[in-house]
Each structure stands twice: as C-alpha cells, then as structure tokens.
C-alpha cells in the first residue's frame, strides 16, 4: 500500500551543493509532478511528466531538472543549491487527466544554508 514514496524526508545542503530528491509510485500512473511549498503559501508546480521520456516545465522550474526514464520513478535534481530553494518538496502522481485524483507523497524538507 505504498502509493507515492519520497526520499529523503529531511536534508540540509550547503550553498552550491547538488542533490537529487527521489520519487517513486507503484500505482502505474502516467502523470507525475513535483511541487514546492514555501511557508504560508500554496503549492507551486516545478515540473511534471505525462509519461516515460516526456517532461515539461511548470510554474517555477529554474534551478531544477527532472528525468522520467521509467513509469515508476521521477527524480528531481537540484544543481548549485541556493537559499531560495529552502522549501518542502512534494511529489505527486495521477492516472491521467479528466479530473482524476492526484496523490501526494509525504514531502521532503530541504534546507539550504
């Protein structure tokens, strides 16, 4: 009964370091998403994917990269971390469009110092 699994749950990075947030789903969903949530704010879409090999930018893509080599996995790469990337990151997935429910992971808390 895993759903959407994110790792790590917590991470502290130094300015300029790089890291990858991992996301996996076991529901055979086509669509996957990465959102970030800043304090007191709603979620903003970073990148999304409509299937293996296909990715597209969301509202706030700068400073991030993604890949989708399999249906199950959708890692988010942070290159040259900056303090502005301190946030909570949520991975999500859905079967397809047409109003299907989007399921969220439990979040990854990232602090850049």
């Amino acid at each position: 009964n895993a759903g959407v699994t994110q790792t790590p749950k917590f991470r502290i990075l130094k300015i300029g370091q790089s890291m990858t947030l991992q996301c996996a789903q076991d529901m055979n969903h086509n669509y996957m998403y990465w959102y970030r949530q800043d304090p007191g704010m709603g979620l903003k879409l970073i990148y999304y994917s409509v299937g293996a090999g296909i990715t597209d930018k969301g509202e706030v893509p700068n400073g991030y990269n993604v890949s989708r080599s399999t249906t199950e996995d959708f890692p988010l790469r942070l290159e040259l971390a900056a303090p502005s990337q301190t946030s909570v990151y949520f991975c999500a997935s859905s079967l397809d469009t047409s109003g299907n429910t989007i399921y969220f992971g439990e979040g990854s808390w990232l602090t850049v110092v």
Binding site: G40, G42, L45, V50, F90, T97, S98, F104, E106
Partner: protein, 114 residues
C-alpha cells in the same frame, strides 16, 4: 491561466460549531475544482472534487462544497467540526482540457478550539 484565492488565511472555530472556508477562482476556460487537506508534517489528502453534475459535492470526514459558477466560488463547509479537523486546507483548480496541472490557493489554517 487559472488562479485561486482563499479569502481567509486563518479560521478559528469552537468544537462542534459549523465552519465555512471560502475559495474563489479565476479562469477563462472550464475547470475542475478540488479541496485538499494537509495535516501537520504530512502530504496532501483529497477531501472532495467537482468535475460536473450536481453543484453540491460531498467528501470525506463530513465535508461538503458547493460549486457556484456565476460567483466563481467553491466554498467548503462542515456542519459540526471536531478537534481532529485542525489542519491546513487548500483549494485547487485545473483546466478541463489538456494536462492536469493543479493551481493551488495559499491555504486556510483551520484551528478547532475545545
């Protein structure tokens, strides 16, 4: 483009009292509407959604919402709240056509006092 405005950032309510969390949206195309709940240090969980049909939508945990197209609103209601309803609530929209990309409001923190 779509946008969502949640009119109250914080709503304090006494236990067993009714509550309404307000949400207005803006869109030039048809949209689907959602309410999500986020408990402390957890991910988001779907409460309910409006796709089509009856404008009154019932969700989990006794919540319901009414879609009002003329007022572009999708307010969330519960007739009697419990301590366990303390959480952050997010209204979200996505366009009907094309890739489903949720646009979220800034959230309403619901605090239930005994």
């Amino acid at each position: 483009a779509q946008s969502v405005t949640q009119l109250d950032s914080q709503v304090p309510v006494f236990e067993e009292a009714p509550v309404e969390l307000r949400c207005n949206y803006s869109s030039s195309v048809s949209v689907y509407l959602f309410w999500y709940v986020q408990y402390p240090n957890q991910g988001l969980q779907l409460l309910l959604k409006y796709l089509s049909g009856s404008t009154l939508v019932k969700g989990i945990n006794g919540f319901e919402a009414e879609f009002n197209k003329s007022q572009t609103s999708f307010h969330l209601r519960k007739p009697s709240v419990h301590i366990s309803d303390t959480a952050e609530y997010f209204c979200a929209v996505t366009r009907v056509q094309g890739a489903q990309k949720l646009v979220f409001g800034q959230g309403t923190r619901l605090t239930i006092n005994p």
